[in-house]
C-alpha cells in the first residue's frame, strides 16, 4: 500500500503486488494499482515484451481462478489483459491472435468442467467470443451474439450440445444455446421445421431422462416460442400428445402438468376452442394439489369460462 501511495510504478512493485493478490485476490485497489504499473511499463518496453507481460497476466489469473473461481476482480483483470493483449496484435500477427483466443476458449472449457454453472466463466466466454469476432466497422452491432460469424455460431452450437449431453441439468448451456440458435436462425432468414424438430428430439430425450428437471422444460418453452404461426397448431398438438404420454408414465410430474396447462392455453389462442380452456383450468386445479407451494399462482391463473 505504501508503494501505491507513493505512486511507485516499477517492476519490483509489481512483484510485491503479485504476492499480495495471491493472499487476497479480492483486494480490488491492488488490481487497479497493478494495471497502472503495467500500463506504465508498457510505455517503456517494446511490443514483444508487452505481449509477454500480458501473457503472464493470463497465466497468473488462471492460477488464481482455479482456487477462487467466483472472484469478480480476477475475471475483470483477465478480461482487461485479454483485451489489451488482442489490441497489440498487428494484422500480420493474426495467427498469433487466433492461437491466443483458441487457448482462451480451452481455458474456459477447463474451468467449466470444474463448475459447469459458473456464470463468471460463461460471461467471460461470451466476451471472448465477442472479441474474437469484433469488427472495426462501427456501424455493425458488436454485442453478443450478433457479432458472431456463422462458422463461430455453428462451433458454439456444438459446444453447448457437448455440455448438455454431459448434464441435462446444465441450464447455463441451454440458455447459451437459445442465444446461439436465435442468431443462427436470424442469419439464415428463419428456421426450418427440420431444424426445429431436431431440437424437439433433443429436448424430448432430456424430458424422459428426468421429468423433474426444470432446465429442460424451460428450453422447451423457448422452443415453442420459435415456431412460426403457420406451424404452431400442428406442433402444439404433437407436443401436447407427447407430453401426455410422459404424464401417463409420471402422473406426479408437476412439470408435465404445468406444460400441459400452458400449451393448452396457448393452443386456445390459435384455435379458440373452449374445450382447451376447460382443460387448462383442470390442469391448474390438479397443480394446486401437486404443487401447493405455488397454489396462489395457479388460483390467480384460472380463467373464467
Amino acid at each position: 500500500m505504501d508503494l501505491r501511495n507513493h505512486a511507485v510504478k516499477t517492476a519490483e512493485s509489481l512483484d510485491a503486488v503479485t504476492e499480495l493478490l495471491k493472499i487476497n485476490p479480492e483486494y480490488y485497489t491492488m488490481w487497479n494499482y497493478r494495471r497502472i504499473i503495467l500500463l506504465n511499463l508498457f510505455t517503456e518496453i517494446g511490443v514483444d515484451a508487452t505481449q509477454e507481460k500480458l501473457s503472464f497476466e493470463l497465466m497468473f489469473t488462471l492460477g488464481l481462478l482455479k482456487e477462487f473461481p467466483k472472484v469478480y476482480w480476477i475475471w475483470n483483470h483477465r478480461t482487461w489483459a485479454l483485451e489489451t493483449l488482442s489490441a497489440t496484435f498487428t494484422d500480420e500477427q493474426a495467427d498469433g491472435r487466433l492461437w491466443e483466443w483458441n487457448n482462451e476458449l480451452k481455458m474456459v472449457d477447463s474451468l467449466l468442467k470444474l463448475d459447469s454453472r459458473n456464470f463468471h466463466a460463461w460471461g467471460y466466454r461470451r466476451q471472448l467470443l465477442t472479441l474474437m469476432n469484433f469488427k472495426e466497422d462501427r456501424n455493425t452491432v458488436s454485442t453478443f451474439p450478433h457479432v458472431l460469424s456463422r462458422d463461430q455460431l455453428l462451433k458454439e452450437k456444438q459446444s453447448t450440445l457437448h455440455f448438455i449431453e454431459n448434464n441435462f441439468s446444465n441450464f447455463s448451456a441451454w440458455h447459451q444455446r437459445t442465444k446461439i440458435l436465435s442468431q443462427l436462425w436470424a442469419l439464415d432468414g428463419g428456421v426450418s421445421i427440420d431444424d426445429l424438430n431436431e431440437e424437439f428430439d433433443l429436448v424430448k430425450q432430456a424430458m424422459y431422462t428426468d421429468p423433474s428437471d426444470q432446465s429442460v422444460w424451460l428450453y422447451h418453452k423457448w422452443l415453442i416460442q420459435q415456431v412460426a404461426d403457420e406451424n404452431i397448431v400442428d406442433v402444439l398438438q404433437r407436443e401436447l400428445e407427447s407430453i401426455n404420454e410422459l404424464y401417463e408414465l409420471e402422473p406426479e410430474s408437476k412439470w408435465c402438468l404445468e406444460s400441459l396447462a400452458h400449451y393448452n392455453k396457448l393452443l386456445h389462442q390459435h384455435t379458440q376452442a373452449n374445450e382447451l380452456l376447460r382443460r387448462y383450468n383442470e390442469y391448474l386445479t390438479e397443480l394446486i394439489t401437486i404443487d401447493p407451494d405455488r397454489k396462489n399462482r395457479y388460483l390467480d391463473s384460472l380463467v373464467k369460462l
Binding site: 500500500m1 480490488y28 440458455h175 407451494d293
Partner: protein, 334 residues
C-alpha cells in the same frame, strides 16, 4: 409452519453484528477491507430493521464513512485510502441517509452525483463499476439508486445524440431481457435472481416497469422456491438465504409476493440462524455472516414476520427512511 418452535433470535443477531465491529485486530477484519463499507451498510440496515440502530456508535460510523469519501473524485471507497467504486458509493450514501447524516458527514452530494454520471460510457445505457470499465446490471442499479436517493434523478433526462440517458438505460435493459422474462448481468447473460432484482428495482425507480413481462418473470421467480422452502438463484441450483432478498424484493415490486409458500420460507430462514453466536448463514449449519443476516432479516420483513420493521423492496432500506425522502414506489408486502 412445520418447525413452529423456531423463532427469530433478534437479540443474538444484534449482539453478533455489534461484535463484528469490535474485531478490528483480527486477520479476517483486514482481509475484508475491500467490502468494509458494504459491511457497515448490511449491519446498519439489519440493526435498523431489528429496531436497534442505536446499538452501533453513530458518530464513529459517520466519521468512518466520511473518511471513505474521496473529495477529489466524489466517490466512496470500501475503506479509507482504497480506490473508489460504485458499489461502495451506494453503500456510503445508504448509510448516511439511513442515519440522516448526509450534512453531518460534510459530503458534497453534487460531487457524488457527478462521480456517478461520469461512470456511464458516452452514448451507452449502462454504468461501469469504476474507471476500469467493468459493466454489470448491478452497477446500473447502483447508479440509479444513488441518484434517486440524492434527489438527482432528473439528470437522467439529459438528451445526448437525440435520446435521453433514461431512454438509453431502458433500451439497454430491454436488450438484457431473456426469453424467461429475466435479466443476466449483461446482454446475452443467463437470468439470475440477483440481477433480476437490480433490473426490476432500477426500472421501478425510473417508472419503466412496462418493459417487463410481469407474469412470465414472476412465474420464473416463484419457481426459485425449492422443496425445503428456501429459494435458489437459478434453475437447478442450491437454495441460499440471500435469495430471500433478491427473489422476494422483485416479486414484491411485481405484486406477486403471494406466489411462493411464505411459511416454508420463514422456516428455512430461521433454520439458518446460528443459535450460539447469532447471525444468519447461507443455509442451515454454515457459518453466519452479516450479508446473509441482512438478507434473511429483510426477507422475513417482507413476509410480515412480527416485530421486524418493514424494508423497502426497491432500495433495501427501512420503509420509514424511504417515506421520509418521499421516494416510495408501488409494491406489495405480505
Amino acid at each position: 409452519m412445520s418447525e413452529s418452535t423456531a423463532k427469530l433470535n433478534a437479540d443474538k443477531h444484534v449482539e453478533y453484528i455489534v461484535n463484528l465491529g469490535r474485531a478490528e485486530n483480527t486477520l479476517s477484519y483486514h482481509l475484508t477491507e475491500h467490502l468494509r463499507l458494504n459491511g457497515i451498510y448490511w449491519a446498519i440496515t439489519s440493526l435498523s430493521l431489528l429496531g436497534r440502530i442505536d446499538a452501533l456508535d453513530r458518530s464513529a460510523v459517520i466519521e468512518y464513512v466520511g473518511n471513505c469519501w474521496n473529495s477529489s473524485n466524489g466517490g466512496f471507497s470500501s475503506h479509507p485510502n482504497h480506490d473508489t467504486h460504485i458499489l461502495s458509493t451506494l453503500s456510503g450514501i445508504q448509510i448516511l441517509i439511513t442515519l440522516d447524516a448526509v450534512e453531518e458527514a460534510k459530503i458534497d452530494t453534487s460531487k457524488v452525483v457527478d462521480y456517478i454520471l461520469q461512470l456511464r460510457p458516452s452514448n451507452q445505457g449502462f454504468f461501469t463499476g469504476d474507471e476500469w470499465g467493468e459493466s454489470d446490471t448491478r452497477f446500473t442499479y447502483c447508479a440509479i439508486s444513488t441518484l434517486s436517493l440524492l434527489g438527482a434523478l432528473d439528470r437522467l433526462d439529459q438528451v445526448e445524440s437525440g435520446t435521453s440517458i433514461k431512454q438509453k438505460i431502458v433500451s439497454w435493459f430491454t436488450q438484457c431481457i431473456n426469453f424467461d422474462g429475466g435479466f443476466g448481468n449483461n446482454i446475452g447473460a443467463e437470468t439470475h435472481s440477483g440481477q433480476v432484482f437490480t433490473a426490476v428495482a432500477a426500472l421501478a425507480i425510473i417508472d419503466r416497469l412496462d418493459i417487463i413481462h410481469t407474469d412470465n418473470l414472476s412465474w420464473w421467480l416463484s419457481e426459485r422456491q425449492v422443496q425445503n422452502g428456501g429459494l435458489n438463484g437459478r434453475p437447478q441450483k442450491q437454495e441460499d438465504v440471500c435469495y430471500s432478498w433478491w427473489v422476494l424484493s422483485a416479486l414484491s415490486i411485481l405484486h406477486r409476493l403471494h406466489w411462493i409458500n411464505k411459511d416454508k420460507l420463514i422456516s428455512f430462514i430461521l433454520s439458518a440462524q446460528d443459535p450460539d453466536c447469532g447471525g444468519i448463514a447461507d443455509r442451515p449449519g454454515d457459518v453466519s455472516d452479516v450479508f446473509h443476516t441482512l438478507f434473511g432479516v429483510a426477507g422475513l420483513s417482507m413476509l410480515g414476520y412480527p416485530e421486524i420493521e418493514r424494508v423497502d423492496p426497491v432500495y433495501c432500506m427501512p420503509v420509514k427512511t424511504i417515506e421520509r425522502l418521499g421516494l416510495k414506489k408501488s409494491y406489495t408486502l405480505l
